[in-house]
């Protein structure tokens, strides 16, 4: 008997903890979930809204141009452009992106057709992708000294999220039987939203765990960085030595290999290197830097090619990573779902929506309970009714 009642009060306590986890900041949690859901598919939303970012083939048998061919086409169209960086978003339906500096000193990100090299447009001043990510990732709080406090604010939510997953599973008796429980309609909104909350909850156990754990990693990452602790084994690439930059007889710039030669050298030296981004030397002493995903799609491999000596001066491949880095570097793609094309993104988007719904339904349930609890407390007389209602609105309704 005593054991049972203790068990019951324990579960009441768990229930209370679960109810209160997101509550005082529920709207904040809701917006963070919602913007996260949007951020996952922000690239696709822009693709739908803006024809400039699409890679349309001029005809069926068009071939993709090489990076150097694209660069040449761009220079032919706009000779004054200084191209700094090319990047191919994940998915051949996206246009190639080129970061450029114009002669007037402005920077732009241009969308370039990978089949023709035509400049299709430039990223608008309001960058939906960057904005949703900034809002979701650091609540728009600027980074001035290390990580922004907005980053801490958002990533801290990983902890109550993890706690609500655990407490939710504890209070939901035999949750593993809940996967195919129908949602009851016609018994009032409290029952309806309760059923929705539980059903959505059991199906998204894995997703909540992934998002909460990776979210907490973002917190740890910020703490490590702000305390100048690094676990990276990535080599620091020194600038090209002065002796390796040839002197020319006429006082003109030393000849450099072109983009395609650099890419070829890296591909020959590193079999299986996918080059989905490449940056041009930013100074006379800089490398061609390039990279792309390896066989393990959650991590990138990079290489630095010396434009004068044609050596691969530095590389950072999957095999160079420590076991710990495999875990920590996987955290970000696991959080954002951008490691397996559109299919994975859509799954992440869907469960992001479910998660947003969980926060919302959780709130609705709580509101109903509170109203009922408050009414019940008020009915019981004028004694300390107001205080009671305010202090423990959920205790009266703790039975699920």
């Amino acid at each position: 008997m005593a054991r049972q009642s203790r068990k019951k009060s324990n579960s009441k306590l768990w229930f209370l903890v679960h109810s209160w986890l997101a509550l005082p900041i529920w709207f904040f949690v809701l917006i963070v979930c919602f913007t996260g859901m949007l951020a996952v598919v922000s690239q696709e939303i822009v693709w739908l809204a803006n024809a400039d970012v699409r890679a349309s083939k001029p005809d069926d048998d068009s071939q993709r141009l090489s990076y150097q061919q694209v660069l040449d086409a761009m220079h032919k169209a706009e000779p004054e452009l200084a191209v700094r960086f090319f990047s191919q978003p994940d998915g051949s339906h996206f246009a190639l992106q080129a970061s450029v500096t114009r002669a007037d000193g402005t920077n732009a990100l241009l969308y370039v057709n990978p089949y023709t090299g035509a400049i299709q447009g430039q990223r608008p001043d309001f960058d939906f992708e960057a904005f949703t990510r900034a809002l979701h990732g650091w609540w728009l709080v600027p980074f001035t000294n290390g990580y922004s406090w907005g980053w801490y604010l958002v990533s801290l939510l990983g902890l109550p999220m993890l706690a609500s997953l655990v407490t939710g599973l504890v209070v939901y008796k035999k949750f593993w039987r809940g996967f195919f429980k129908p949602v009851r309609t016609g018994h009032g909104p409290r029952i309806f939203w309760g059923d929705v909350h539980r059903l959505a909850g059991v199906w998204s156990i894995w997703f909540i765990a992934v998002i909460a754990i990776t979210g907490t990693w973002f917190l740890i990452q910020a703490i490590l960085a702000d305390n100048h602790v690094t676990i990276s084994s990535e080599p620091i690439v020194p600038v090209i030595a002065r002796e390796q930059v040839p002197q020319t007889a006429d006082g003109g710039p030393a000849p450099r290999i072109d983009l395609d030669q650099a890419a070829r050298i890296a591909s020959q030296k590193i079999p299986g290197l996918d080059i989905s981004f490449i940056s041009l030397p930013a100074t006379a002493y800089s490398h061609y830097s390039m990279g792309g995903r390896g066989w393990y799609p959650l991590m990138f491999q990079t290489a630095e090619v010396n434009p004068y000596t044609r050596n691969v001066d530095s590389q950072f491949l999957l095999g160079d990573r420590s076991a710990l880095e495999f875990v920590t570097e996987s955290m970000r793609p696991l959080h954002t779902g951008d490691f397996g094309g559109l299919a994975i993104k859509l799954i992440w988007f869907f469960f992001g929506l479910v998660l947003t719904l969980m926060v919302f339904s959780g709130l609705l349930i709580w509101t109903k309970r509170t109203t009922q609890a408050t009414l019940a407390a008020l009915k019981r007389g004028e004694r300390p009714a107001r205080k009671r209602a305010a202090a423990s609105p959920t205790t009266l309704e703790a039975q699920p």
Binding site: P24, W26, G150, L153
Partner: protein, 178 residues
């Protein structure tokens, strides 16, 4: 729980109970408040707001002229054990193929090997992060060195107090502490 119910709530607790849901509003106000700053920064990095703050125009370096500006009108930022840094931009539309590299340094460099930090990027908008030792004299000059492909170096200087008044003011304060 029932024990806490019967206790008279303390002032702090009452305040929490009354205001806890207003935390939501407070939290939503944060990104709203920072939104103008977010868009101003985006414009700054695109170069739409010009080269930066306190632009010093037409600095003659050899046969070239360039403009120098601090990215933001503010004191140097601490970057951990590496010390304090100040971001500068430069634009050199006259820089032709003869220019191999452009450098920035506090105090006059004795040789090309100690010319300072190198400017990255296209001549129309280059950037560098200049280390500012806290012991620097506030009346110091910053030196721009252009290294030509001909192997020669060309130099010019600007008073730090002109290029970045906030840095000079910050150094004044640092000096006062010592």
């Amino acid at each position: 729980m029932s024990q806490t119910d019967t206790l008279p709530p303390s002032g702090l607790k009452q305040l929490w109970l009354k205001w806890r849901f207003h935390l939501n509003i407070l939290l939503i106000l944060v990104p709203l408040g920072f939104m103008p700053k977010y868009f101003a920064d985006a414009s700054l990095f695109r170069g739409d707001s010009g080269l930066g703050a306190n632009i010093v125009e037409n600095i003659q370096v050899g046969r070239w002229t360039l403009d120098l500006a601090e990215l933001r009108d503010e004191a140097p930022r601490a970057e951990g054990p590496a010390g304090y840094f100040k971001a500068f931009n430069a634009a050199c539309t006259s820089c032709d193929e003869g220019v191999k590299a452009t450098y920035l340094r506090v105090g006059k460099p004795r040789s090309l090997r100690a010319a300072g930090t190198i400017f990255f990027g296209a001549p129309a908008r280059m950037g560098t992060s200049l280390p500012i030792p806290p012991r620097t004299r506030p009346d110091a000059d910053i030196w721009i060195t252009i290294e030509g492909w001909d192997g020669k170096m060309y130099q010019a200087s600007v008073p730090l107090a002109k290029a970045s008044p906030a840095t000079a003011a910050w150094l004044e304060k640092q000096g006062g502490n010592k």
